[in-house]
């Protein structure tokens, strides 16, 4: 029997996210998207049950993140990417295309999930959709 399992910190973070009414996304230590909650699904444009786990390599092509000046953002420049690669909390705003094709602008607070001081197990990103600019 294959016994691979995420660290408890990631398990508990995911459980926490399932209970939150705030859009929340969980990525593992590789940057793969392993969960987003129902509130996040409203912003992302599809449910997690429909999408499933998304490898980090597909974020760019699926969401097309960019600055408000239409400059493309690499995934590592997004708040989730910074929290993962630099292991620090970060807040930022950017635009992206939802999986339903609708353009959105969001503000994200992302922070690394550490199970021990030297062990990163993932990233939690909480975000808010910005109201459309008039």
């Amino acid at each position: 029997m294959e016994r691979r399992q995420p660290d408890l910190v990631l398990i508990v973070a995911r459980s926490f996210a399932t209970k939150l009414a705030t859009p929340t996304l969980i990525a593992d230590a590789r940057g793969d998207l392993v969960y987003f909650n129902d509130a996040a699904a409203e912003v992302i444009g599809r449910s997690y049950l429909d999408v499933g786990t998304l490898p980090a390599s597909r974020w760019q092509e699926l969401f097309r993140p960019r600055t408000f000046d239409e400059e493309p953002l690499k995934v590592e420049q997004t708040p989730s990417g910074v929290a993962l690669l630099e292991r620090r909390p970060v807040r930022g705003s950017f635009a992206f295309r939802g999986l339903d094709g609708r353009e959105r602008e969001i503000t994200v607070t992302a922070f690394p999930l550490l199970s021990r001081p030297d062990e990163l197990v993932g990233v939690m990103s909480i975000f808010w959709e910005l109201p459309p600019t008039p």
Binding site: M1, R3, R4, L8
Partner: protein
């Protein structure tokens, strides 16, 4: 390996006529490994009697794996005879902390004013280590420890010896982490229990009690049985009995557990002081490694 129960009660020792059948001592389980190594899981009040038994042999080295440091899991240490005899070496394993060493944390209990004598006065050699991140070897066994859902830093253990697996999750509330009958990789403790021959699991509450105690770190008997079913363990033993639970009440809860476990699982057990189970090689009587039960106590 041989699994011996010296204490199966949770939270508080509960001696008395109503608990004499399953015992009132708090968590302590002895594993006699295939190569003769003694591995002890938790140091609740049950470890006192185990210590007396150990004095019958030549002094030597003992491994004591602590799941966590709540009092019911360490309260017997001050009365564990080998700690107070020169010549014994006690190697403690426990959960890591970012704020204090394991020795410092155990010493908070084994020091005045909570205890009259300090740990530093113990004649035995006591070594304290955080559990390794990866599985490691103790005697002939491979031991794996992982953080599991409970109040405060808490470990579960998976011990593989002589081709059999024993999993110990005495304080565990997996219900808080995910639905217990699907997505097993998101259920706390699942990887430790998956496919185990024998699982000792927290069974503290009734289904009626649990909604009022959710988040306290323990499981209902129904959740314990569902967890065991999902993890496909061969046999579940109810463990960490509520201190207010009488022998008769435990047997009523057993019926509920037996309803939930899968038909291809061995019948569940109620862990009790004196229970002895042989797992793996050396037990020719039982198929595929699961041993027979020998009633030594009560």
């Amino acid at each position: 390996m041989i699994v011996r129960v010296w204490g199966a009660r949770g939270s508080l020792a509960a001696p008395g006529p109503a608990t004499v059948g399953y015992g009132g001592n708090t968590s302590c389980v002895e594993l006699e490994l295939g190569d003769g190594t003694t591995l002890i899981l938790d140091a609740g009040s049950g470890i006192r009697e185990l210590g007396q038994r150990l004095l019958e042999r030549e002094h030597g080295e003992l491994h004591i794996c602590l799941t966590h440091l709540h009092l019911d899991h360490v309260e017997g240490l001050g009365f564990f005879a080998p700690l107070w005899r020169a010549g014994w070496k006690l190697r403690f394993w426990g959960p890591p902390s970012t704020t204090a060493t394991l020795r410092e944390r155990v010493s908070r209990y084994l020091s005045p004013p909570l205890f009259p004598i300090g740990l530093s006065e113990a004649p035995a050699e006591a070594v304290f280590e955080d559990v390794p991140h990866e599985p490691w070897r103790i005697g002939s066994a491979v031991v794996e420890a992982r953080a599991v859902e409970h109040r405060g830093p808490t470990l579960g253990y998976r011990i593989e010896d002589e081709g059999a697996v024993f999993t110990y999750l005495p304080d565990h509330e997996p219900y808080l982490t995910a639905s217990l009958d699907d997505e097993p990789q998101w259920i706390s403790g699942w990887a430790l229990a998956a496919g185990a021959d024998l699982l000792f699991h927290d069974s503290q509450y009734t289904e009626d009690e649990y909604p009022h105690r959710r988040g306290w770190g323990h499981s209902s008997v129904a959740d314990a049985a569902t967890f065991a079913r999902t993890a496909e363990v061969r046999r579940l033993a109810m463990f960490h009995h509520d201190p207010g639970r009488s022998d008769r009440e435990l047997e009523t809860l057993y019926d509920r557990v037996a309803e939930i476990v899968r038909h291809d699982q061995e019948p569940p057990l109620i862990a009790r002081e004196g229970l002895e189970i042989r797992l793996g090689a050396g037990d020719g009587a039982a198929p595929a490694g699961l041993g027979t039960r020998t009633d030594r106590g009560a």
